[in-house]
Subunit: 69 residues, 6 copies
């Protein structure tokens, strides 16, 4: 599957913290940078997200804000 | 200013493509990875985004999806 | 690729309207219902979206609001 | 009330799963297709969402991604 | 229509700036505070948005970030 | 830090309701209008959000819908 979202960043799961409805997933990109994701608990289970698993962080361009110091 | 968005990734502007209402901004993270952002043209001008400028890509955790191969 | 977004709805492209930065894509689901998408022009071109092409409309659960009459 | 969101899809509630802050709502569209929504628990209660209730799934065009096989 | 989005703020249209695909709408809340919206051009036309028109700014709770100085 | 998000509304925290993964924050704008935010529990703790604290509600223009009666 190829998706319209412009940003598909390679990484691996570093941490998975399940809540009642949502689960927090910490993804470590290849360069050591961490990116945090909140997805539904069902999706986390469906994707079989466990520590070390190779994943992509997928982000739409319109969901990326820009900030300056 | 500190913000609730969990992901604040350091980088610099690599490209700025203005449209009528929105502008596309390509940000190069420190590791060479590129992340693409769409913001309003007014915001791009207000922030003075030009090639090479140091910026942050800011993304809410709930806007980060996870994908597997 | 499998994605955390909960909603992956099968359909086909009914219309593609490109702007300067963004493109509007109308997707007809199998039941005749239409769903409208705005993606970047680059993504529309990269995916080769043309009338009749088989696609999926992908929507995160947190982006689906509920309304009542 | 009429809203700018382009997608207003008719359906009925098929399932409601409340968490601490958010509630997951499964909506069955007229054609049997299911769409999953995460809204705040307060909103789910305010709207009186129970199984079988007629509702609309409301989605902004910019929140609809497009994927191809 | 009642909607799950938690924030429905009363105001009136102060400015409408159409682009090719999207339109920028400036809404003045009752207290003089301005809130800016980007919607599709089609939606702006469908809603008949013109200066002075009474409208609501509708925002999901998960789309509101919090910042501190 | 200056951010591309067009809407940065001054207010103070009126209520904080933590869940397992997400926290609901009610912000009272200077005019008495309330705006509700859902952020991650970690962010709420990192920002030290307690009743009465001065904060900003930050919202992207593309996350503001427009509705009419």
């Amino acid at each position: 599957m190829e998706i319209s979202a412009r940003n598909v960043l390679k990484g691996k799961v570093k941490d998975v913290n399940p809540g009642a409805v949502n689960t927090e997933v910490v993804i470590e990109l290849s360069n050591g940078v961490e990116i945090v994701s909140i997805i539904t608990k069902d999706s986390a289970e469906r994707l079989g997200l466990t520590d070390g698993k190779a994943v992509y962080a997928v982000v739409k361009a319109s969901d990326v804000m820009v900030a300056t110091d």
